[in-house]
Subunit: 333 residues, 2 copies
DNA sequence: CTGAAAGCGCTTACAG
DNA sequence: CTGAAAGCGCTTACAG
């Protein structure tokens, strides 16, 4: 590359090199098949000679397509969403989008802030695991950005939703445990609306079908491995020990199994444990962890498809996409 | 907000509302203290009335400061870097930067691609856990973006480096194990240059101080929990069983402890295990995991400081920042 | 298939 | 403390 001293090369520089107009270079870059083969060849040479790297800030401003997507998640460490996010970022990248990552933490207001930030960048879409406030919904609706809420299916999503019915998942877990003959479930629920929905589904079904008592514990978000110590210690103080612990995440389930084993209990014989999310550890743990699998890759694909439709100005066939879930019976329960 | 029908409001709209020029509104937004109090008040009202959200694509183009930073990591699932990345993204956000996330995977060429993509966005900096090819180094040097390589200290970093000496870490682990009286270490090394440097440091020190044999196993990247099964099974087939396993990550260490326990061994009495990275699970595992702690938050702070200096046009006091590491002796070894 | 020209929405010397 | 104006580097009808 001939480094033009100082200044970073622009479209104009490439055009001069190739003996064409900037417009033609732009066409070549965005739509190579519309330029003549010979012209394309000269442009390629010009790009190589100048070391040209397109300026997507300028491109985005001119076309009002930023080719960026914001991805908003609560946490990164021990997060149940990581498989989904990794799939999402890779799929986005393959589709020519860059991912802007926002970490919301536990504070709901943070999500709204990050959404504003994303709108400032004129992102093509915002993918969020959390809901946004009414005021922010207005902002998003007035913008050209598509809001995609993932992992849950609110009744009236601000944009579109790709997720599953948490209440049904809770019910399925209850049914499964009843069918296996468990009698005294202990629910370890993380803070937050989704976990509460699963809890409600579980309790409802359990009361209807089994009728016994359901004990509960609450853990702070993020529900992770380290919470298991306290949860287990508290559990041991209960009058009657549960025979199965229903955990809000596989990491928590893993922690409980380890605590139980350290206390000399066998899992699942003395205490069964069921997780949630089918994180990569679930199938490798000893014993392997019975859990609910969510198809993160499918969520990612559906999100990209929606973004593409949005970019093409097409309507969305449905505002809610239910990707379902699947109970995977393994050794731990 | 009075929604101007259709069009998203611009600086000009706010300016008209406030009865000032667009330049003044711009100044208010970027440097509030330079505008008169009364003017500021009218501008605030104008912003509220129009529902104005700045267009950072335009802002970035005009100022050639994108206020974006690319963060390139190999993986998200069970990744040792997650604590650092979470700290990084939060710190960046607090400093007014948005983070662009790139997942490089195992393929080195992918990093170069992502760097080009980042340069297209005219990011202020690129933070990468991996190295880039010579050609990409040229590209980066000619750009205005600062390249920050983290977690390691190459001799001649393309930009600046913030990390620690992996070889020394390997040496320290060897010294520690020798001091504890271990005799037959088994190294489980992940693919990749950093792990190899730790391995070399370990072997060098072990040979010099203890003199015995060091057995080794290689695991693919990412080095995670699930690899433990095979590693443990292979280990059992060795003529003489090791008395301590040196793992490339805490997740792998955790997996080995679980495998060992499932096989009826006690950790550390029958088999000791040492991890790497001080991930959140390390302190909560039973037994707690002896490991090397890296101060991820410090890396994040140093990175932000460097980005700030770069933005201010200041020189960097040093091209390499050694944040060191710390061996944390816990129960597992 | 290609070019001239307007425009995207900001920032920033320059002048006052 | 504020305004007029040029410019950042692209894209995209429009015309040929």
């Amino acid at each position: 590359m001939n480094e033009l001293p100082g200044r970073t090369p622009t479209l104009e520089d490439v055009a001069a090199h190739a003996g064409v107009s900037a417009a033609t270079v732009s066409r070549y870059i965005n739509n190579p098949e519309v330029v003549a083969a010979a012209t394309a060849e000269r442009i390629r040479a010009g790009i190589a000679a100048t070391g040209y790297i397109p300026n997507l800030l300028a491109g985005g401003l001119a076309s009002s397509k930023s080719k960026m997507v914001a991805v908003l998640i609560p946490h990164l460490v021990d997060s149940m969403f990581n498989d989904t996010i990794e799939a999402m970022v890779s799929e986005l990248s393959a589709a020519g989008f860059n991912a802007m990552l926002g970490i919301t933490g536990v504070c709901a207001a943070r999500t709204d802030e990050l959404v504003r930030g994303a709108l400032s960048r004129r992102v093509d879409a915002i993918i969020s695991t959390g809901p946004i406030s009414g005021e922010t919904v207005d902002l998003v609706r007035r913008s050209a950005s598509l809001f995609i809420q993932v992992w849950e299916l609110p009744d009236d999503p601000p944009g579109i939703a790709i997720g599953f019915a948490h209440r049904d998942a809770g019910r399925d877990i209850a049914r499964f445990l009843i069918s296996r003959g468990y009698r005294r479930p202990h629910l370890v629920t993380a803070e937050g609306a989704r976990a509460a929905m699963r809890r409600d589904g579980f309790v409802e079904e359990w009361r209807a079908q089994a009728g016994g008592a359901v004990s509960e514990a609450l853990v702070s978000i993020p529900s992770r491995f380290g919470h298991a110590r306290r949860v287990f210690a508290d559990m041991r103080r209960m009058e009657e020990l549960p025979d199965v612990v229903v955990c809000g995440s596989d990491y928590l389930a893993q922690g409980l199994i380890i605590e139980a084993q350290a206390a000399g209990l066998r899992v699942p014989d003395n205490l069964a444990v069921i997780g949630f999310g089918n994180s990569s550890i679930a199938g490798d743990m000893r014993p392997t962890i019975t859990t609910i699998d969510i198809d993160g890759a499918r969520i990612a694909r559906e999100a990209i498809a929606a973004i593409r439709r949005h970019a093409a100005g097409e309507a969305h066939p449905n505002r809610s996409v239910d990707v379902g879930f699947r109970l995977i019976a393994r050794e731990s329960a």
